[in-house]
Symmetry: C2
Subunit: 539 residues, 2 copies
């Protein structure tokens, strides 16, 4: 791409665009443009691949001269609908009765503490003591003991000893060594197989880890990375920015979103037949946006597939503790690879943003590198070093996540109660929302076996579909925008994640507080039934 003319570049983008559309990955541009949105959303529309050129010809940096790989990139989770939701939220502040709803219900992003989920007390206590270490000094410690449990005090002292009492200093670029050792111990206990701190790298959330690994893998525009459809758009966005090929495969909606080996084979052989250098397979388990959990038999098949076809596995396992059914427990790729004594190359990603901790704003995460070439590991250290280090409190939160209070510790009871309350409530909400969606006409919804999302399928009246197409809008995007304007509920259209062409979905988190669920579900029902009624003669 890079050495071709701009025209050729444009043509290539157009081709890739058509390719993604084939997989139901809608384009931000067309969707937004036709919605006659207000300023912010218009700016968002300007941020799309079909932006008109800057009116100001005198500028050096314009949408025409800028990095066109960023220009074509899409990221629906924070796209047009959330931007419109922000505007409506502001409107409600100034005139609370100006809209058919009293509040915005943000179901577009897995951001639990934004929706009143309480932080885990022990994690915050340790963190607070590290921030203001004078609390641990001789003058204050007695008063501190009135506010903090002894194990939080001990933990903060231990954490500070990890960084030579300098919580404000850069750490090693791969993260604090002792924290990486604790992560390795956590993985060993989880899987029953050895793990090494040398293979753990702490990162700025799992997103930072995924971006870094993809950057390592992409050596030319011809490199392809297999991604699930539907997928979390971090993957298509990053591959677009890196100017690489997304090689989509379908998750089987009718089979609780498991992977189909035959579809993997089909996708891979198609891409390689087209000359794409397919190097890696992304699996998101538990699934985002699907909520599906892979059976260990399915994971073994995937590992064998990647061995056979020489593919690196990227296992996005950030929802590994968000598991709601007995039938589909979480099984890590690392465990299966170790059991099979496979030499397949694996990067596994984890995060403090999900699970019951939900510390999204802290930006902490890690990857484990399994069977990765040592010289490549040295290159990844160099790459990490340019960004200096992940933030220290994010690293320390990873440590608390992998090393929580144990039975007998002063904080254990409260910690266990907080985790369990969040877990039980999430499980109830997952069931209620999936059931509610599944019970409506023209809708079907798999149960959420894990993660924080359901991905219901909506059968839209043909006339509605035609009207949307006539406006140049993806039908599911129009459906979600109308849902927002009618109910204040902000979800993400299926076309932001990809879906089987001709099918329509949306992703909704089940994170709103339980006490709001009746209103939430009633509001949605009214909107959905109302829409069907308006079009019923045509159904």
């Amino acid at each position: 791409m890079h050495c071709s003319s701009l025209a050729a570049t444009r043509a290539a983008f157009a081709a890739h665009h058509r390719y993604l559309v084939r997989y139901g990955l809608r384009t931000f541009s067309t969707t937004v443009a036709a919605m006659q949105l207000s300023s912010a959303a218009t700016a968002a529309a300007a941020a799309s691949s079909s932006t008109p050129s800057s009116s100001d010809g005198r500028k050096v940096l314009t949408v025409d001269t800028m990095n066109q790989h960023i220009r074509t990139m899409e990221y629906a989770v924070r796209g047009a609908i959330p931007i419109r939701a922000d505007e409506l939220r502001e409107q409600l502040k100034s005139s609370p009765n100006s809209l058919p709803f009293k509040q915005i219900t943000a179901c577009n992003i897995g951001n639990p503490q934004q929706l009143a989920q309480k932080p885990i007390t022990f994690l915050r206590q340790v963190s607070a003591l590290m921030e203001y270490a004078d609390l641990l000094g001789p003058e204050m410690i007695e008063t501190t003991r009135k506010l903090f449990p002894e194990d939080a005090i001990e933990r903060a002292r231990r954490n500070l000893s990890y960084v030579g009492n300098a919580a404000g200093a850069y750490t090693h670029s791969l993260g604090i060594h002792e924290v990486r050792q604790n992560v390795a111990r956590f993985i060993e206990e989880r899987d029953g197989f050895p793990a090494s701190a040398d293979n753990i790298c702490l990162t700025t959330g799992a997103s930072g880890a995924v971006e870094r690994v993809l950057d390592m893998l992409v050596s030319s525009p011809n490199v392809g990375i297999m991604i699930p459809i539907p997928q979390y758009p971090l993957y298509t966005a990053t591959l677009a920015r890196l100017n690489a090929q997304a090689v989509p495969y379908y998750l089987q909606e009718e089979n609780d979103w498991q992977l189909s080996m035959s579809d993997l084979e089909r996708a891979l052989s198609e891409a390689r037949a087209n000359g794409t250098d397919v190097r890696a397979l992304v699996v998101i388990n538990p699934g985002n946006p699907t909520g599906g959990c892979l059976l260990s038999s399915n994971i073994s098949e995937i590992v064998r597939f990647c061995e056979k076809h020489r593919l690196v596995i990227l296992a996005d396992e950030v929802y590994q503790t968000n598991i709601y059914t007995g039938t589909n427990p979480f099984v890590s790729f690392k465990q299966v690879v170790a059991q099979m004594q496979s030499e397949v190359e694996l990067f596994s990603f984890h995060s403090i943003s999900k699970g019951m901790i939900g510390e999204c704003g802290r930006r902490g995460g890690y990857y484990e590198a399994v069977n990765i070439d040592q010289a490549v590991m040295a290159q990844m250290l160099k790459l990490a070093s340019v960004s200096l280090c992940p933030n220290v409190q994010g690293q320390m939160a990873v440590d608390t996540m992998v090393n929580p209070p144990k039975k007998g510790d002063p904080s254990y009871a409260q910690y266990a109660a907080e985790i369990d309350a969040i877990f039980q409530s999430m499980r109830r909400r997952a069931k209620r929302l999936a059931t509610a969606f599944d019970s409506l006409p023209n809708m079907s919804c798999n149960s959420a076996q894990g993660a924080m999302y359901v991905f219901p399928r909506v059968t839209l009246p043909q006339q509605f579909v035609d009207e949307a197409r006539a406006k140049g809008v993806e039908p599911d995007s129009l459906y979600c925008m109308q849902m927002l304007e009618a109910t204040g509920i902000s979800v993400v259209p299926g076309s932001g994640f990809g879906q089987v062409p001709g099918t329509f979905h949306f992703r909704s988190t089940f994170l709103p507080p339980e006490e709001l669920f009746d209103d939430f579900i009633d509001g949605f029902k009214r909107f959905h039934m109302g829409l069907l009624a308006r079009y019923s003669p045509k159904i």
Copy 2:
């Protein structure tokens, strides 16, 4: 580059490599390789552009198949010498008397809290209260008041109100709106010209901001970005990763590192004559690694130069409060651009990692975008949204930096005293170190007008230079490695930043605690004089 064959790619890298060498930018590889270092450094050597291929032909991801732009990237600040320093530090832990020194003195990186600089109490108090907000609740507040001043409590409550009491949630991708407003106010007060929150983006340190802006600017391998020589290697590393051209210009060592307009003209016309699409100019003021501060007359000339030649200005101003002489006060590019009513496009970068705050591990920073096209701003919002948001405590530390306690506030006296003590001590250390280096034979050193570094020039005996070259090592790298092995002082060779070919420098921070300065300077003197003595007959 991307669509050429791997062989052609290699050739292009080799050419770019020669180009950088012309500007005295040494290569990590040759330097390290010849030093017969131990495992970690060997790994670092493996992380160099001349790595032998992986022995394991079965791997999918190897140094030969990986992204070659990352492979060729250099980052000396955390390169071979700091890696060797880490090993020696470990050795001292296990056998304290096994080396000619008792401790490693890390002068390779501006990381003040690692060298016992105390954090600013108010910042940490506010941060601790935000972490554990129960301290502000009715049950605990009375006890909390015994440990925290009233203004820290008020500030924490205000900060929490900015995020709807959800310090653990993702924020807006550009950062918390109120913090961006406070940053804009800070800039208005600093410069005396309007600033808008809409033009402020909070980032993961200034490094994250620089990487994002460069990613926007680089639309093809033919794009060139002018960088100072010597430079902070973030710029060459990021340009190498993005596969763009570094277009080096020289800072005038004999003129306190000011920019020479004639050399800017020379560098630009050479590059454009070679067909490079030069789009932007990077200026680091106060200078890293030079410690120089630009006079406002020089800044005006630079702005005019960029207007005339249609260049975007990237102003790296992270050391804007590290100013040690009356003769060269800090003047922001934003102020000069506003005074001149220039329409030049400007990105200005600031950070919480430097100044007197030195919160490196918190990863907070921002950029201000001036005269940037609105559609480009929308693209930058989209790019930011893929990474979700910068960490909340980093954002809040930016807020405290731009909005410290005011006269009359309970915390003002302590805050002002802490800032002043750090500032006065840094100024004394800057002077002492520059004077000490400047007083030695075969050395000259400009005074540090700002920042945290001196960049002394060393005239190495010809025989030493010949011996280094014979080993395939950059002479200044060999000098710095010998300094480390003899004294435990870890500095960065000038070739990691670039220098006039045939000249040799190193960058040393002046951050070691003042009480260690005598030993530090004596140790260095012994090493330097000893080296000269060994080679004196040949001088």
